[in-house]
Symmetry: C2
Subunit: 147 residues, 2 copies
């Protein structure tokens, strides 16, 4: 999660919402892809950190499903990302801070509770929660001061 936090900080420095994600080989712990939000940079409302690491590793492997992968992300994934994580058959998702306003895993539509779902990843939450949440709170507090 320290690596994901570094990506979140780098995203904030680019004036993106500071969320970072790391995709890891569940068996070896090797980091396969790392990124932060780039929705502004890419003019792409889907360019969330989680989507970028999934797309990168799928493209590298030339597959649509990522066997034996764990995703670390600093904030609870939104419904868009939670669905993509399920499509990609990610084993385990580990997130830092919960997101009662826009989350889709333990908040709001709680996507993985629906029987429709083809693949439900294991969910671990609250890792470095304070630090993961603080960089977001600081970012938005600064934005409000600048207004």
């Amino acid at each position: 999660m320290r690596h994901a936090l570094q990506e979140a900080i780098a995203a904030g420095a680019r004036d993106e919402v500071p969320i970072g994600a790391i995709l890891v080989d569940s068996r070896t712990g090797e980091i396969l892809a790392r990124n932060g939000n780039r929705t502004r940079e890419l003019s792409d409302p889907t360019a969330h950190a989680e989507i970028l690491v999934i797309r990168e590793e799928c493209a590298r492997r030339k597959v649509q499903r990522l066997d034996h992968c764990t995703l670390y992300v600093t904030l609870e994934p939104c419904p868009h990302c939670a669905a993509a994580i399920s499509f990609a058959r990610i084993d385990t998702i580990i997130f830092g801070a919960p997101d009662p306003k826009s989350g889709g895993v333990v908040s709001g539509p709680k996507l993985y509770t629906h029987p429709q779902l083809h693949h439900k990843p294991t969910v671990i939450e609250g890792i470095l929660e304070q630090e993961c949440g603080d960089i977001l709170r600081d970012f938005f507090a600064k934005k409000r001061r600048e207004k």
Copy 2:
């Protein structure tokens, strides 16, 4: 919706799940972007028809939000796409067939019913429902016969 159906048929011819989408200027009716599923071709589990047209038009306009746009899609969007449609501030979404198995608008998590949501598009369903559903049923029936 006839144009979206053409994209769905073209997707099926590429051995992709036959779903097609058209992005239209809500004021003039001009078609801005058109595509079908390309998850196999692009090795990208997020390359659904809806996502591709949203990303294309956002990149063209260099924005994250698509004012005055209507999205036509042959099948009820999944939660991944339903969330992206909301992020992109699409005015209206018009779909053909419902998708009780994997849909996220009128099925399953019914994403637009959650108070969390920042933008709720107008939803119109059932346009050319039979034809939009038939090409999917035919595609999967053929797949099962080939097994």
